[in-house]
């Protein structure tokens, strides 16, 4: 099909091949050695560095940067992986502007933090491109642990368990491992199949068996896992999305942002991926930004994010918001969806109601606005599918699994981490930290008898 930008409705092939390649290229191209040296030189090697405190996995940032600056990127990668075995992905996807780089003293001093994320990528790229493994498995413990979910939480947990000598089986309902690294993260943040390369890098330690298309509740059951293993880790993320609960939500053209992004991430040929001419995204988080930006990059003419509160309440960081607007996405605030207007069974517009804060509570003002829209994305949050947890005694609070500081659930043989728990922010790096810490807790519990 010849490219046609202005085709009505939801259509593929809006752009030429070169344009797709350009649009979906690496958001932050890797630093050259020279750039890395210049960036590393700026680190002050702070005492009790605030950046480390700000990192959910507590990577020793001043040390790894000093190792880059002194010409030892391999040692630097080792420092990073000691705390965060998915340091490569985190370097690409962490909202550093609200984590380590926000805390950098040079942010205070000059408004320009050390490029911690990009330096982390520099060092981890060196090690991963050479396939250098830093960890060996301990003597076999004879213990078996089942990990459910091969996202960042599950992978981090499996790696640490394998390191301690336990045998790990990882079950994931999807055909590929990686969780949202593979199916959710914006394509321009993790290019060239990095998510799968990282899965291979992490599992190369050995002792980790990956079982694909093995879903808890469908292919396997929790009570069986508990019977066959010494411990179980749950890292199943959030498999469902919140609905808008408005008239017309079911018509053609209204889609889950997360599903759409998964399709995009798996597409071999982006020109075959249909996208609307006029896209409206409902939501204010990272997912809303990602689906909006990627729709624009796929050639949508108009993309508007509608968020029901003010700018300061958006979950997406300032950087993410700026990225969206720089790509031509419009962000509108104080608007909530009221009705999807359909024509011939297809979405044609969305009617939105203006909102305001009344005594701290959000309320519609009664006034409305209608935006033409042939594609409407729902990005108002995801939720846990807890059916598969059965009656194992795992408790939920606010729809998420209840865990303590070590990731222990109410069942003494079950641990959990990542988005499916109520702890921490829903970020890749948080999931890694929780998976890793749960592994340490499991290891302590399993070695308790010997101690």
């Amino acid at each position: 099909m010849a490219p046609d930008r202005l085709r009505e409705g939801i259509a593929p092939a809006r752009l030429g091949a070169e344009q797709y390649a350009d649009n979906f290229a690496d958001l932050h191209p890797p630093l050259s050695e020279h750039e890395a040296m210049v960036a590393a030189d700026r680190c002050y090697f702070c005492y009790d560095a605030p950046c480390v405190t700000a990192c959910p996995t507590q990577i020793d940032i001043p040390l790894f940067i000093r190792q880059i600056a002194t010409g030892d990127p391999m040692g630097s990668a080792n420092t990073i992986f000691d705390q965060n075995i998915l340091g490569g992905m985190c370097a690409r996807v962490c909202p550093t502007e609200t984590l380590c780089e926000e805390a950098c003293v040079r942010e205070i001093a000059e408004g320009k933090p050390v490029l911690i994320g990009q330096l982390q990528r520099y060092a981890t790229d060196v090690a991963m491109s050479q396939g250098r493994q830093f960890y060996e498995r301990a003597q076999p413990s004879g213990k078996k642990v089942a990990v459910v979910g091969a996202g960042p939480a599950g992978l981090a947990c499996a790696h640490r368990l394998a390191m301690h000598g336990h045998d790990v089986v990882v079950h994931d309902g999807r055909p590929k491992a990686g969780g949202l690294n593979e199916y959710g993260i914006a394509a321009y943040k993790t290019v060239d199949g990095f998510a799968q390369a990282e899965v291979d890098y992490v599992t190369a330690i050995g002792g980790i068996e990956l079982k694909h298309e093995s879903a808890l509740g469908r292919d396997i059951q929790l009570d069986q896992l508990l019977e066959d293993h010494d411990a179980v880790f749950i890292g199943i993320g959030l498999a469902d999305v919140n609905s808008l609960d408005v008239e017309g939500e079911e018509v053609e053209g209204v889609a889950d942002a997360v599903d759409y992004i998964a399709g995009l991430r798996q597409a071999d040929d982006l020109s075959k991926l249909p996208v609307g001419r006029r896209v409206v995204v409902i939501g204010g988080g990272m997912t809303a930004i990602d689906v909006a930006v990627q729709s624009k990059l796929l050639g949508a003419e108009e993309v508007t994010i509608c968020y029901r509160r003010g700018k300061d309440r958006m979950n997406a960081s300032e950087f993410e918001q700026d990225l969206a607007t720089s790509k031509g996405v419009a962000i509108r605030h104080w608007l909530q969806p009221k009705r999807v207007v359909a024509e011939g069974g297809k979405a044609a517009a969305i009617e939105l109601e203006y909102t305001e804060e009344q005594g701290g509570k959000l309320a519609g003002t009664g006034e409305t606005l209608t935006l033409a829209a042939d594609q409407i994305f729902k990005a108002i949050g995801q939720k846990l599918v807890s059916d598969s947890l059965g009656d194992a005694g795992v408790k939920l609070t606010g729809g998420r699994i209840d865990v303590d500081g070590e990731g222990r659930t109410a069942n003494t043989k079950i641990w959990a981490g990542g988005d499916c728990t109520g702890e921490g922010e829903d970020l890749t790096v948080t999931a890694v930290a929780q998976g890793r810490d749960a592994a340490e807790s499991i290891h302590a519990a399993l070695s308790g008898g010997d101690a």
Binding site: V38, D41, R42, Y44, C46, Y47, D48, V105, I108
Partner: protein, 435 residues
């Protein structure tokens, strides 16, 4: 506007900045460019007798860098000029003719025989050059042939050759000293005794800058081997300043003109050399790093500072710092200063804390009431100022003197306004009872 004109042992130049004898002054082409750029004078790259020497055909430099690969120290294994004597003499003559207002000094190094010196002095005189500089400094290559620092390390030779030169020419004689000795006053006194019009210092410091860990050869590596070279650039400035001061305050050489050299990179460095008694300064590495254009920063910076400080000409501040250089035993032990961290400027890096905590006096907090905060603990602070030097923010930490009568919380003693030094301190076994 400050008057930068310089008169150094009768040699006049429009400003006190000369290019030191080195590659920047190796030939007519470079020197013309330097003069066009505004340099006040040059000391021509050292001449020797024919047959001219040869240089290595591989790398000549090693280096030390700071942040952003800023060149901090340069080391070289270059020898004196590797061009025929007559070629240099011809070029010197035309350059001097074309730039009569600039200083052209010719650096010389010939074997330690009076005939050799007389021969070359005659030839240099014919060029119309303003003066000569005796290179008793190069620490490599030439020294192994009994020249350069091999002469500069033996005061008797310095005096002897200086005397020959004074007798052999009407031109002013500047003796360039090597820092590769234990006490710089001895060679300076020897030059003085031999009748030198001035000394210039420092030449380069013997050094090995680095070792290649793949080949295990020192750098610069010539076919797998390296030899020590001469170190210069910003890193040697403190060594040079001290040596200049030593000569300036030595009773035997007091008043002997000094041309200050070593690591001068900015107008400020130059002003410091002048304040410590240099009549003018010479620059090499800074020009080799940034090109001749830095002369604009050097002259403008010096003039602006002089204007602001009210120094109308160079003489009004040359040597002003010399009386303030003293020996440790005369420092006032009743003077008490404490570090003070400006919390508005502090960026919370904590370097001051860890430096003080790990390696010094445990006099800085890391938290106050559970909150990250760096404050000086006056009870512990000895006033060493390590924190000032490791702090990345200018003026964030200052050393504030305690006023008279205030209690020093560390010692519990009142600050005594009277001057008292080690010579009269009770702990000094060799104390001279105070009157």
């Amino acid at each position: 506007m400050a008057d930068l004109r310089n008169d150094f042992v009768g040699i006049k130049s429009p400003n006190p900045f000369w290019l030191a004898s080195a590659p920047p002054t190796d030939k007519e082409y470079n020197v013309r460019r330097a003069f066009e750029a505004g340099w006040g004078g040059v000391v021509w790259k050292t001449l020797g007798l024919d047959p001219h020497i040869v240089n290595v055909n591989g790398p000549r430099y090693g280096a030390i860098w700071g942040a952003d690969r800023r060149l901090l120290g340069l080391n070289n294994i270059e020898l004196i000029t590797d061009r025929p004597l007559q070629t240099n003499l011809d070029e010197i003559k035309v350059v001097k003719r074309d730039y009569p207002d600039r200083a052209v000094i010719v650096s010389l190094m010939v074997p330690c025989e009076e005939v050799c010196w007389n021969e070359i002095l005659k030839k240099v005189e014919e060029t119309g050059a303003d003066g000569i500089e005796l290179n008793f400094g190069c620490p490599h290559g030439m020294s192994e042939r009994g020249m350069g620092s091999a002469v500069g390390q033996v005061p008797e030779y310095i005096e002897m050759v200086t005397r020959w030169c004074k007798a052999g020419t009407r031109m002013p004689v500047i003796v360039k000293l090597t820092p590769n000795i234990t006490d710089i006053r001895y060679p300076a006194r020897a030059a003085n005794a031999g009748g030198a019009d001035a000394v210039s210092l420092i030449n380069t410091v013997s050094s090995i800058t680095s070792v290649n860990l793949d080949t295990f050869s020192p750098e610069p590596s010539i076919d797998g081997k390296g030899s020590h070279g001469g170190y210069c650039g910003p890193a040697v400035k403190p060594i040079a300043l001290n040596m200049v001061a030593e000569i300036a305050r030595d009773a035997e050489t007091a008043g002997l003109p000094i041309s200050g050299i070593g690591g001068i990179t900015t107008w400020r460095d130059a002003a410091e050399f002048l304040a410590l008694g240099s009549g003018n300064v010479q620059v090499c590495t800074a020009a080799m790093t940034y090109g001749f254009k830095i002369i604009d920063e050097l002259t403008a910076g010096l003039a602006n500072w002089m204007d602001e400080a009210g120094h109308g000409d160079l003489d009004s501040f040359v040597g002003r710092a010399v009386p303030n250089v003293t020996d440790w035993q005369y420092l006032n032990l009743n003077y008490v200063a404490k570090a003070n961290i400006n919390q508005d400027l502090c960026i919370q890096c904590g370097r001051c804390f860890i430096a003080c905590e790990d390696t010094s006096h445990q006099a800085i907090t890391s938290t106050v009431n559970g909150v990250r905060k760096f404050e000086v603990i006056d009870e512990e602070c000895v006033g060493c100022n390590l924190c000032v030097n490791v702090c990345p923010v200018e003026n964030c930490i200052t050393m504030d003197p305690l006023p008279e009568g205030v209690i020093d919380k560390r010692t519990g003693l009142k600050v005594d306004p009277t001057y008292s030094n080690w010579t009269e301190h009770p702990n000094n076994p060799a104390r001279q009872a105070a009157e």
